[in-house]
C-alpha cells in the first residue's frame, strides 16, 4: 500500500473510472429513496425508474468488458471478466425481481401500503452483490456480504402483518449473524497467520512461507461457514426452508438466485485465489475433499427432504439446497471447465427458478395458496401458466431440451476423467436428479391429471403482461437449451480471473 497522500489520491481517482456501475447503482438507490418521499403514485413510477437504472448500469458494466484486469481502490476491488459476468447476472436477476414484484398480489396495494423502500432495498442488495463479485480483500468481502444480508433481512420481513414473514426474517437474522460471526473469526485467524487481508497477498504468503496447516484448515472451515450460509449448502441450510416459505415470493425468487450466485462468485474467488494449489499439486488446505463432502450431503438431503414437502415454496427451497450441491461439484473440480460450468449453470438456474417462482406468484394471485394439493385442475383453468411451470420444472430436473439439462451436462462432464471420487460424485448427482423428478412432477401431476375438489373449470388467466413475461421466461429456458453456444461461450470467456501477479 502506498503511504504518501498524492499517490493515494491519484490511485483513487484512477479507480473511480472502474467503479462506474457501482456508482450508478448507488445513485439509483438514493434516487429511489428520494422519489419515494416526494411521489404520491409510486406503484408504477418507481419500478420503472429501477428498471431504467438497471439498464443504464448494464451499459456501464458492458463497457467494463474491455477493461484491463486490475485491482483498484488500493487493492480492495477487482475488475475482471469473471466479475463482469456475475454483474450481468445480478442485473438480470434484479430486473426480473422488479418485474415479478409488480405483478404480485402479496406485495400489492391491499397488503403493503408503501412499496417504495422495497425497491430501494432491492437495489442496495444488487449493489452488495456487485461488490461481492469484485471484492479482493477480506474486509470488502465481509462488508459486501453484510450489505446483501441486511437487505435480505429487510425484504424477507417486508410483510409485517404476516407472522410467517416476520418469523422468517428473525430466523434469517439469527442464522446470518452466527455465520457472519464465524466467518469473521475465520478471517481473523487467516490475518493472524499471514498478516494480510488482501487475498492475493495471502496466497503469496502461503506459498512462500510455512503456515500451520491445522490453523489454516480451521480458519478456512470457519470462512466457509459464512459462504455456505449464502449459497445455502448443508450444513448451513437451516434457514432456507423457513425463509423461502415466509418471505414474499418475489423476494424468495431473488434470494434463491441472486444471493446464491453472489455467494458462489465470492467463494470461487476466495478459494481459487487465496488458497490455491501449490506447485507440487498439493493444496495448503485440502478444500476439494471438504467441498465434495458438502456437495454430497447437500444433494442427498436437498432432494430427499423435498419429497415430503407439500408447500411449493418449501419444496423449491429444498431443491435450491440440492442445486447448491450440484454447483459445488463444479467448484471443487477447481479448473476452468468446472468454473465455466458453474457460471453457465447459475445463469440457467436464474432463468428457470425466477420463472418457477413467477408462476407460483401468478397461481397464488388467483387461488391464494402455495400448497401443491390446491393446484389440482389448474391445467385446464390456467393453461399457459401451467405449461410454463411444467417447462421450468423439467428444466430444474435437468431434462432435455431445456437449459437446465445443458447446465447439468456441463457440470457432470467437467467431473469426468478426473478420478474415481469425482466420477462417483457425478453418478450420485445423476441419481439424485432422478429423485428430484419425483417431487417436481407432483406439481404437473396435480395440475393436469387431477380434478379440483369443487370441480371448478372456469378459466382464470392472468393479465397479458403476466402471460407475456411467463412465456418469455419459458422461451428463454427452451431457447438456451437448444441454442446454448452463445451463453456457453460467454461463460467460457469470462472464466478469466485476475490471478496472482
Amino acid at each position: 500500500m502506498p503511504n504518501n497522500l498524492p499517490e493515494i489520491i491519484e490511485q483513487v481517482k484512477l479507480s473511480l473510472g472502474a467503479f462506474v456501475p457501482e456508482i450508478s447503482l448507488s445513485a439509483l438507490f438514493l434516487l429511489v429513496i428520494t422519489l419515494d418521499m416526494v411521489l404520491n403514485e409510486k406503484r408504477v413510477v418507481i419500478p420503472m425508474v429501477s428498471l431504467v437504472g438497471f439498464v443504464i448500469t448494464g451499459f456501464f458494466t458492458w463497457q467494463q468488458l474491455d477493461m484491463p484486469n486490475q485491482e483498484y481502490f488500493l487493492r480492495m476491488h477487482v475488475v475482471d471478466p469473471f466479475a463482469v459476468f456475475f454483474k450481468f447476472l445480478f442485473l438480470g436477476a434484479g430486473a426480473l425481481a422488479v418485474l415479478i414484484t409488480m405483478d404480485s398480489e402479496e406485495l400489492g396495494e391491499k397488503n403493503v401500503a408503501n412499496i417504495g423502500e422495497y425497491y430501494a432495498v432491492l437495489i442496495a442488495m444488487v449493489l452488495g452483490m456487485f461488490l461481492m463479485a469484485s471484492a479482493s480483500d477480506m474486509l470488502m468481502m465481509f462488508l459486501a456480504l453484510e450489505l446483501v444480508s441486511i437487505s435480505s433481512y429487510i425484504l424477507t420481513g417486508y410483510l409485517k402483518h404476516q407472522i410467517k414473514s416476520s418469523e422468517a426474517s428473525l430466523k434469517y437474522i439469527i442464522y446470518g449473524a452466527v455465520s457472519s460471526g464465524l466467518m469473521v473469526y475465520g478471517m481473523s485467524l487467516i490475518y493472524g497467520l499471514t498478516g494480510q487481508t488482501n487475498i492475493y497477498e495471502i496466497a503469496k504468503f502461503i506459498s512462500a512461507n510455512e503456515v500451520d496447516e491445522v490453523t489454516l484448515t480451521l480458519a478456512a472451515l470457519l470462512v466457509m461457514g459464512g459462504f455456505g450460509y449464502k449459497i445455502g449448502a448443508v450444513p448451513f441450510h437451516f434457514w432456507s426452508p423457513d425463509v423461502y416459505e415466509g418471505a414474499p415470493t418475489p423476494v424468495t425468487a431473488f434470494l434463491s438466485v441472486g444471493s446464491k450466485a453472489a455467494g458462489f462468485a465470492m467463494l470461487i474467488r476466495f478459494f481459487k485465489v487465496a488458497i490455491p494449489a501449490e506447485p507440487t499439486g498439493e493444496l495448503a488446505f485440502d478444500w476439494v475433499n471438504f467441498f465434495a463432502l458438502i456437495a454430497l450431503v447437500s444433494m442427498l438431503l436437498g432432494n430427499f427432504a423435498a419429497i415430503w414437502q407439500s408447500n411449493v415454496k418449501r419444496m423449491l427451497a429444498y431443491s435450491s439446497i440440492a442445486h447448491a450441491g450440484y454447483l459445488l461439484l463444479g467448484v471443487l473440480v477447481a479448473d476452468d471447465l468446472g468454473t465455466q460450468a458453474v457460471m453457465f449453470y447459475l445463469a440457467a438456474y436464474t432463468v428457470m427458478t425466477v420463472g418457477a417462482f413467477y408462476v407460483v406468484i401468478l397461481i397464488a394471485n388467483k387461488i391464494g395458496s402455495d400448497d401443491v394439493n390446491d393446484y389440482r385442475g389448474l391445467g385446464k383453468r390456467m393453461p399457459l401458466t401451467a405449461a410454463a411451470l411444467t417447462v421450468f420444472l423439467v428444466s430444474l430436473t435437468g431434462l432435455p431440451p431445456t437449459v437446465g439439462f445443458i447446465g447439468k451436462y456441463m457440470i457432470f462432464t467437467a467431473l469426468l476423467g478426473k478420478g474415481t471420487v469425482f466420477l462417483t460424485l457425478a453418478i450420485i448427482g445423476v441419481l439424485t436428479s432422478a429423485v428430484s423428478l419425483y417431487y417436481y412432477f407432483k406439481i404437473p401431476l396435480n395440475m393436469y391429471l387431477r380434478e379440483s375438489e369443487d370441480g371448478a373449470e372456469t378459466p382464470m388467466e392472468s393479465s397479458a403482461f403476466a402471460n407475456a413475461l411467463a412465456a418469455f421466461l419459458m422461451i428463454l429456458t427452451i431457447g438456451f437449451g437448444l441454442f446454448f453456444t452463445p451463453l456457453a461461450n460467454f461463460a467460457k470467456n469470462s472464466v478469466i480471473m485476475l490471478v496472482m501477479n
Binding site: I8, H77, K110, E117, V121, L147, S151, K160
Partner: protein, 174 residues
C-alpha cells in the same frame, strides 16, 4: 513496569472472565446484562494495556454505553424478570453448544501454542501513536477509504430498513 502491567492484565483478565461467566450463569436477565457491562469495561482496560486508546474509548462508549443501555431498556420493556420464561429445555441444543464451545477452546489453545513469525509492517509510528484517533482517522480516509465509503451505504440501508420495519400503519388493512 513489566510486573505492574502483568498484575493489571491478570486483574482485568479475571474480571473479563467473571463478567462473561456471570452473564451466562445468572438467571435474572438484568443481572446478566450488568455482568456483560463489567465484561465490556474490563475488556476496555485490556485494550488500554495494549496501547490502543482509541479502541478502548470506543469500546466503553459504544458497547458499555449505548448498546448496553439498549439491552437493559429492552429487557425492562419486555418485563423478562421471570426466570422460568427463559429456561432452556433443549438438552440437545445445550450439548451441541458445549461441543462447539469446546472445539473453539481447543482451537484457541492450539493457536496460542504456535510460534508465528509475521512480516513486520513498515511504519514509522510507535504503538502509542498508532492507537491515536488522529492516525486511525487518517488511515480511514486514505488506505481504507473504499471500505469506509461502503460502510456509509451499509448504514444508510440499515436506517432505511429500521424505519421500514418499525413504521406503523404499514398495511392499510390493519
Amino acid at each position: 513496569m513489566e510486573t505492574v502491567s502483568f498484575i493489571l492484565f491478570s486483574f482485568l483478565g479475571a474480571l473479563v472472565m467473571v463478567g462473561s461467566i456471570g452473564t451466562v450463569w445468572s438467571r435474572n436477565p438484568v443481572t446478566s446484562a450488568l455482568f456483560l457491562v463489567l465484561n465490556f469495561f474490563a475488556l476496555g482496560g485490556i485494550y488500554l494495556l495494549l496501547e490502543a486508546q482509541f479502541i478502548a474509548v470506543v469500546q466503553v462508549i459504544v458497547y458499555a454505553g449505548a448498546i448496553m443501555v439498549l439491552f437493559l431498556f429492552t429487557i425492562m420493556l419486555l418485563n423478562l424478570d421471570d426466570e422460568q420464561a427463559l429456561k432452556e429445555k433443549f438438552d440437545l441444543q445445550k450439548g451441541f453448544g458445549i461441543l462447539l464451545g469446546g472445539v473453539l477452546l481447543v482451537e484457541v489453545l492450539y493457536i496460542l501454542g504456535l510460534k508465528i513469525n509475521l512480516p513486520q509492517k513498515s511504519t514509522t509510528l510507535t504503538p502509542v501513536e498508532i492507537g491515536e484517533a488522529k492516525n486511525i482517522g487518517r488511515e480511514l480516509i486514505t488506505n481504507f477509504l473504499f471500505p469506509f465509503e461502503i460502510v456509509s451505504i451499509l448504514l444508510l440501508l440499515a436506517v432505511v430498513g429500521a424505519i421500514v420495519l418499525a413504521k406503523k400503519n404499514f398495511s392499510p388493512n390493519t
